[in-house]
Structure formats: structure tokens, C-alpha cells
Symmetry: C2
Subunit: 343 residues, 2 copies
Amino acid sequence: MDNKIVTIKEIATKLNISPSTVSRALHDHKSIGLRTKARVQELAKELNYEPNQTAIFFQQRKTFTIGVILPELSEAFFSSAISGIEDCANKNKYTVLMGQSHDDTEREKQLVETMKNHRVDGLLVSIAKNTTTYEHFEAIKKYDIPVVFFDRIPSMENIHYVACNMASGTTQAFNFLRKLGHKTIGMINGPMNLLASKERVEGYRNALTKARLKYDPSLIISCDLTTDGIHKVTEKLLSLKNKPTAIIAFNDYVLLDAVEAVKKLKLKINKDVSFVSYANLPISNYSAHPPLASVEQFSYQQGYKAMEIMLDLLSKTNSENDNTTFYKIILEPQLIIHTPATL
Amino acid sequence: MDNKIVTIKEIATKLNISPSTVSRALHDHKSIGLRTKARVQELAKELNYEPNQTAIFFQQRKTFTIGVILPELSEAFFSSAISGIEDCANKNKYTVLMGQSHDDTEREKQLVETMKNHRVDGLLVSIAKNTTTYEHFEAIKKYDIPVVFFDRIPSMENIHYVACNMASGTTQAFNFLRKLGHKTIGMINGPMNLLASKERVEGYRNALTKARLKYDPSLIISCDLTTDGIHKVTEKLLSLKNKPTAIIAFNDYVLLDAVEAVKKLKLKINKDVSFVSYANLPISNYSAHPPLASVEQFSYQQGYKAMEIMLDLLSKTNSENDNTTFYKIILEPQLIIHTPATL
DNA sequence: CTGTTAGCGCTTTCAG
DNA sequence: CTGAAAGCGCTAACAG
């Protein structure tokens, strides 16, 4: 068995020509004679030549690899998003280097470091939920590694990102509930360092303003998105004097925990309290207590789009250092109303 | 801003010593004087030196990168498995290069190629459901890139793999249903090129044999695992003369489609026909029609274990080329019986 | 304890 | 149209 790895040099000596000629022939360089080009390509195939990418990466200072950092792969939103990223990357000859922060800022920092050392061409990140300092992302700019954020966007200036307009999604959700007759609507929100949490509040308040209603801040409670946190918050909401008859849950996972809390209180879903949530994950379709509606956030598309932006950034990174314009792609979410049949 | 990237050579000239000394000092080589070591490390930190991994990868013929090829990231089983892989890899200073085959053999082949060119140190793969030729995996062995398969194992000799003992899982499922009084038990199986499908049949037959029952082959039907295929197969099973009162579904996703088919036939779940399935995915916990029980396959653990085997293989790949012993790790699955409360 | 040297495999000027 | 040579950044004999 020809276990040995074939190099350009070998092809060269076997053909009595120089390595540079071989390299050029392999790349279909115009200045190479058809005759030699053919001979080289033939022998290359015969010997089963494979270019050593690590050598090329090193030499070209480009790895055709994109680093992706996200909180948790087992959350459907993220696995779907990275699926989109990978599809787009693959289509464009890029590969994906993946790491999960597990919502731990320290690990996130370390991953940025690893990715940098691996010389990824770019970084796609969805930040850990309690990341509040951003030096690690600032730092990487100096290395000409573009960063595009998706979904979980940090509160930083001058960044590229793609996200869903959660304000508008929340307004949609709110109005939907209003139309069903709900007067008092609560919200289980996420940590306030997330843009998405701020936007939810914004959308909620916009809806109130438009409807000329008064804002009761106690109806919106932030939590850390842990099961315990969600249970507590749900109980709190449902024990208010101004008790909500409907609740907007941060996402479909949060909803699952909120539903449990409601059951513990011996209240009836869709009777004592109704829910609307975000993400529109497949679990909702099969759930025993699906939300009345869920704000679709197009996770796959977000990932795909983020990668497209990255490709664009990479294509012109050398010519113009456009440190002035930033992509801020905001997808319009869509409230998916679940049919009565499934309720 | 010091945008320039610092190299060992620079540190060397600034300190009037040789690059090799710097390299050694940075690696805490014992033969370097404490004095110089300190000076080097200090300056390195000051200049913010970062080793160029691509150079190291190239030079060392090792990338500390593991390629992972799996069918579909948005399937919970796989995202959970890769989560385990990544955790184990990360803990051991390895990174994960990821690609989805989307159950397409062509793309799988191409991914193997890409991974090979990227010079991954090893490959972890769960094959596409209709992959039946394995040259691409045979080929990669010549490059000293170990391959460990997980969950979806090809019918090849001499491979490393970790999987769940689906035979035993199926026997457990079968016996569970028998105890509930079911006499005629059907099975929606996957494509027969998958080891897991063969094992299901084996487990089914073992259970029959032990119970001294006769085997009716029409009660086991293979399908392509598409929604349409599942619908057809379900209808077929339920229109047999020897009609099953319980069905073992290939996994929790298949179950969802099978349930739909049952509804279309106006039959009642858990009355006309009961289900048991595999995977025990979270969806089951929230599903409107969860299976009576589900065979837990420990996806995260499978991924983690596969990566551990890989690490072991990598640690001794140079010393002994142990082409004779192969890891065949078979995890014992566990039938998780869903509490009546959720039914 | 430290320096010299060579080389990993490839691309790419610069000369013919 | 082709060759010679340099060099990407780092490590590792080998030689002091």
C-alpha cells in the first residue's frame, strides 16, 4: 500500500521539472504549456496527489475556516442556526470550527482565544447570556478577524449583527393577546444585558402606548432563564394584585417551565392563563400545552444570513478597511398562530 | 495601535538571542537559563505574542482538530451527541470541525475529502442513512487518520465504533409491551443497511424466541424514515390481518409521524394502538401523545465516549500501529417508562 | 545553557 | 513558457 503522502516536489522530480511549474500547472495557470499541464495533472491524479492544506493555510494566511461560538448546541434554536451557517459555509468552500460556551463567559473568552490561534478567517458568535464585558471581542478586531453576531447580540457599538426584531415580535404578540380580550398581559423576560430582552420591553411598551394604556412595570419580570428562576417568576406574576390573564414567555423552552409552574399552582392553561412565546420550535407542534402563538425567529435563516455577511466582509477585507459601515440586519419575525385543532 | 503580528523572530532580535532559544523559553524547556526564560516570557507578554498555530500545525503535522460528520444537526440526537463530543474535545485541547451530510452520501464523501485536506487528526462520523458504499472511509485510513463511528455504524469490518445495543433495547421494549398484555407487536424499522436496524430485528426475534412465540415477518416493516414513508408503513401495519395492538417506532421523530397516521385512520392512541419508541428525546416529555416508554440511547454520552476513544487512538497512533484491535463500545440502553401522569 | 541550520509544503516574485 | 530561490513561523536535531 502506498501509504506515503505525495508532494508537489515529488511530482516535479518524477517529471524532471520544477516545483513551481507543477504548482502552476495544478492551478491551471495560463502561462503553462498545454503539454506539461496535461502531464502534470495526469501524474498528480495517478499518484493521488492531495494538496496539504495546512501548508497552504500557513502560507496564504487564510484558513477558509469560520469559528462559531454559541451557548448551547442542544438548544434547538442554536442547532438550527448553526445548521444554516454550515450550509452556507459549505456552499462557499468554508468550514466551520465550533465551540459551545455553555453560557459561561470564561469559556467564551477561552474559545475566542482558541479560534484566534487557529487563525479562523472570521467569527460568528451568539453570546453567553451573562456576558457583560466585551474585551475579548474588542481584542480580536486587531487581528483583522471580522466578527458577526447573531441572535444574542452584545451591547456594543460598531458591530455587525443579524437578529430578529424582537420589539416588533413582542408588539405582534401583545396585540394578538389584546384581540383575544386579554387586558392584563405579563411577560417573562430574559437578562437585561441581552439586546433581545431590551427589545421585548420596548415592543411591549410600544404596544401599550399605541393602545393608550398605562404601563405597569411589575408585569414584566426578568429572570436568568433557569428552571428555578422561571418557576419563581411565573409564581410571582400570578400572585400580583394586577394579575395577568396572559403571559408572554421568553421562548418555547421557558414556556415549558412556566407551564409547570402554572400546574403547580393548580391553575388551568388557556383558562386561567394563556401563553404566547417566541421561537416557534418544533416542540410546540407536539406539546401538550402549546402556546396560543409563537414568534418565529427564523433561526436557520439567521445563521445563514450571518454567514453571508461574513463572506461579504471577507471578500473585501483587504481592499477597503471599511471600519465605518456595519451590517445591522434585522429580520422581521412572524407571529405563528397555532390552529385551534392542536390546542 | 500595534496591529502588527509579533513573531518569535522579533522577540529574538529584540533580545539579541536566537529564535530557538525564544521558542524553548516559551515552552519552558528545562535547558534554558532562568534569567533568559524570564526575560523572554516577559517580553512576549509585553508585545502580546501569540503563537501562529497554522505554522505549528504545518510543522508538527498535527492540527488538534477533530472532524465530525453527522447527518443533521437539527435532530436532537445529533446535536446532543456533538455537544458531548465538543465538551470532551475542548477539555483535551482539541477543536471540532463540523459538517452535516444531510443524509446525502455524495455530500458525506465530499466532507470526508474536506476534512482530510484540512488534516484533521481524526474523524468522528455517524453515517448518512442511505450510505452503502464505504470507499471514502476505507480511503482515509491510508492517511493515518483514525475514524470512530458513532450511532449510525456502517456494515464494515475492522472499525472502531460506539453505539447502543439496539438489540437489547428492542428486547426490553418488546417485553415491556408483552407485560402490558400486548400479543401482537409491530415495528416500524429503519433502512436495513444500518446496523441499528438489523439489531432491532435481532432483539425483536430474541424476545420472541425466549417467549416461545412465532415470528410473523410482516409485523416488521422497514422504511426510509421520511414522513411519507412512515405514514405508509403505519397504515400498512394497521391494516394487517394480524393487526398489532402496539408498535415499536424507530425513534421519537418517527413516532410523531406515526401518531399522525394513526389519527388519520381515526384510531385512538393507547386504546387501539400503543407506542414505544427510541431516543427518549425531550420532546416526549412535552408531547401530546408520548410513547408509553422510550429507549434512552444516551446521545451525549455516545458522543463523549466516541471522542474519548479517539483521544486514546491518537495518543498511541505513533508508537504501535495497532491495526488489529478495534474498539467496539456498546452502551446498554435503558427503557425509560413514562409515568402515567404524563399520559 | 545557547546558537546554527535545516526544513515542513506550498506559492510567488524575479529572472531567464 | 519555465526555473531558481526565497520565505511564511515555527521546531528540532546537531553542534558547540
